[in-house]
Amino acid sequence: MQSRRFTLVMAAVAFILFSFVSAVALAQEAPKSIKIGASISLTGRFAAGGIDVADGYKLAVKHINDKGGILVKQFNKKIPVELVIYDDESDPSKTVTRLEKLNAEKVVAYLGEFASDMNIAGLGIAEKNKIPWVGVTIAVENVFNQGFKYIFGPNMFSFMEVAAFLDALDKIPENQRPKKIANFELQVDWGKECTKYLHEYAKKKGYTIALERKFAPDTKDFSSMIMAAKSAGCDAVFAVPTPPQSMTLIKQMKELDYAPKATCFVRGPDLSNFWQVMGKDANYIMTSGEWTPDMPYPGNKQLVADYRKQYPNKLMGMPVGNGYSAFQVLADAISRAEKLDRESIRQALTTTSIVTVKGKVTFDKRGVGNVPHALAQWQNGKLVVIVSPDYKTAPVLVATPWSKRK
Amino acid sequence: MLEITGIDVFHGDLQAVWDVSLIIEGKGITTLIGSNGSGKSTVLATIAGLLKPVRGSISFDGVRIDTLPAHKIVDAGIAMVPEGRRLFREMTVMDNLEMGAITKRARQMKNETMAWIFDVFPILKERARQRADTLSGGEQQMLAIGRSLMSQPRLLLVDELSLGLAPVVVQKISQTLDEINKTKGIGIFLVEQNVVMALELAETGHIIENGRIVGTGKASELLASDQVRQAYLGMEGE
């Protein structure tokens, strides 16, 4: 009895397996459009940024296709874009199979996703499949020191965030300017890089790193770090916490009555709902200003208007603009490539120079993007750009002690 | 009066009781004897509502009870002392008794009933605040009986009273049961492997074998019969 079932089940397993394999093998499709693929976390831990990025891509595709698509010289006509997005469930090992699936569907390029866990797993696949990858939030410079040829990062990097933060400090009048910086280092490669550059740039500009403390991505209690910074007399704080961590950090800083003149949390406060959930405690907090709805670059107004129309209930987060911008870069490269093969598109990407909704994007030899270094600050319910190389910005506000805030 | 008419009962896919019909008089002491695995406990569990008959019916004082859930059967006046006592081990003696009086009818008279039970089993009063699993075997059996009596039953089902107890203790407890029956008029239906004890205590006896009733009669007559003596008392007939 037992063994009969063994045989039966083995046969069933074999059958299911082979029908799956053959079904996949037979599903060939002829490309009638420009196929671009992305594996994105639509569910799970990283879905917040993932869905925003996907929305940015989708809106950009819609805008291009409304105009008939991308002009491809080889065929001398406009070809519409077909964007294929698969969910990787915030699981990096799924990213690999999704990207291989997209490869099998003959996409001409990959678009990146939000969370670095997935991006890191994915870009190796892009490199080995020789498919150009236009990232959206790969802020780790080290990735680009590996000699990859197909990876492009049209976004702000660790060193740009640090530079923008110090630029903001420079803009504060001499008599009020913070001098001693507390660096809270997140124990991931991005945090390590930020620390490296913070030391390098601070030295150049005459700031001291008076305190350094490490924390992990799952840290939920920051009281010890805050107390240490307070007793070391640090009047500026820099960190790249996760979004929930930046919320907890601010709450605990208030509880422990620590209000340094400048506080920069690169992630978290850039979320559009940050003011909504944190209220006026978010005041004076600085964050990445890579993209905001108010930026005066061409096309940004329309992006914001169309997004608000399409998703009236959603707040517009920074990843939407970043996604939109990344797609603009790719579409530009495709039209300049004049052909629809992956190698030509890669070639075209290396010579990118386009003004997107977040400003001008170019790439260096490694694929590291050069984008405007911008920093933003929450000022009375609005995320205001305080540092930008391209236009006049609002003044930097120095934080007042908690007890003096209303 | 409990009337069982032609019930078939299954344990999963296995049939344990075949077409059993019994009449248990309300006032007296009745016993069902049989060897291990003969189906006698199954009959009891079916009366108490833990198992449901696939065919046949059970009624108590004219009311059909086999369709009721177990806790309603308690409400209807049938309480069971389960095999192996099954006390709530982590609770005190008091709390165990309180659990016996959970039905609405019983709860109203909880204090009076408890006083009576402490009367019947004075040792329980002494141990009232102790955890049930600290009692001796005999005390545990008393508590189990007391707990079931808390529900103010008219019929008490007792499953394997003598299991794991010393003969003296069995003797004592069965005497108490007899008293309860005589003074309070609570009917007792006893299921036992200890055939002699059961038949000496009971007025009427039934014999079950392989899930079927094979004999019925006055307890004293059964005790003397060859059938019982050969099968259960290990005495060869001459």
Binding site: M10, A25, G191, K192 | F10, G12
Partner: protein, 313 residues
Amino acid sequence: MVERKKGLVLAAAVIVALALVPFFTVREYVFSILCMLFLYVTLSQSWNILGGYTGQINVGQAAFFGMGALVARLLWVAGVPFYLSILAGGLGSVILAIIIGLPALKLRGHYFAIGTLAVATIAQITVGNILPGISFLPAQQMATYSLIPRYYVFLIIMAAALAVIYFTVNSRVGLGMEATRDDEEAAQMVGVNTFKYKMIAFLISSFFAGLAGGGFAYFNASYYWYLPFTLMWCFEPILIVFIGGVGSFLGPVIGSVCYVLLKELFALTLGEANLLIFGIVFILTILFFPKGVIGLPAKLRQLFYRRGNVVGR
């Protein structure tokens, strides 16, 4: 016995047929998904020998999977041939299992389960703190990266795991394991050295989990060092075994096929709601096949012959 032989022949035939797949298709997607499938079969079967056959619910499989991946990757990137690296990864896990197993296997039930979960969490945090960076393949290995050798590595690891575990559980050792699972105290009383069987199962389990980790390290072009230590690798093998049927040899195989392929299918077709639908299907499966998918034939038989109606337990 004849039937069992037939089953083994069929199993061998399936393995051989799988080995031939690369000759019929070159689609890398097929390989990548089959690689994941083999990985999950290996990992869940390695969990099954300890959890299913010996009754020790290990919720820390990620520690052993991760250890295998860590050792293998470090050695491989340092220039050691990959097959040696992967073997070393398996041994690394075994060493970890010896260190952890000696005290941990004295724990029973929930305590062993949560204790191993704690070990896995500690491993994840520690590796994340010591190696916060990314593990890249050297550029020249990246340039020659191909999925086909990875496919065979996973296939071989899976076949080895299935064979070793099959013959172990069907031997005298297997009987000892099952005795340990069914009633540890009773087994001890009749003179079974339950600790020995638990340890054997634990070592086999960790070895193949480590090999699977090594395969994973060989498979991924770039990843974070802590990735193979994430708790997902603890939970998924358990789920898969329970879906398929715990303590049966084919359970993990069936569970993996259902879990990996169904999830993939849903993710490709259903977009944002795919986990919602998967969750519902998953719950319905568990409710209707409480003993796992392998209980399906018994369930059907029961439907046809069902007569008794039992309430209570």
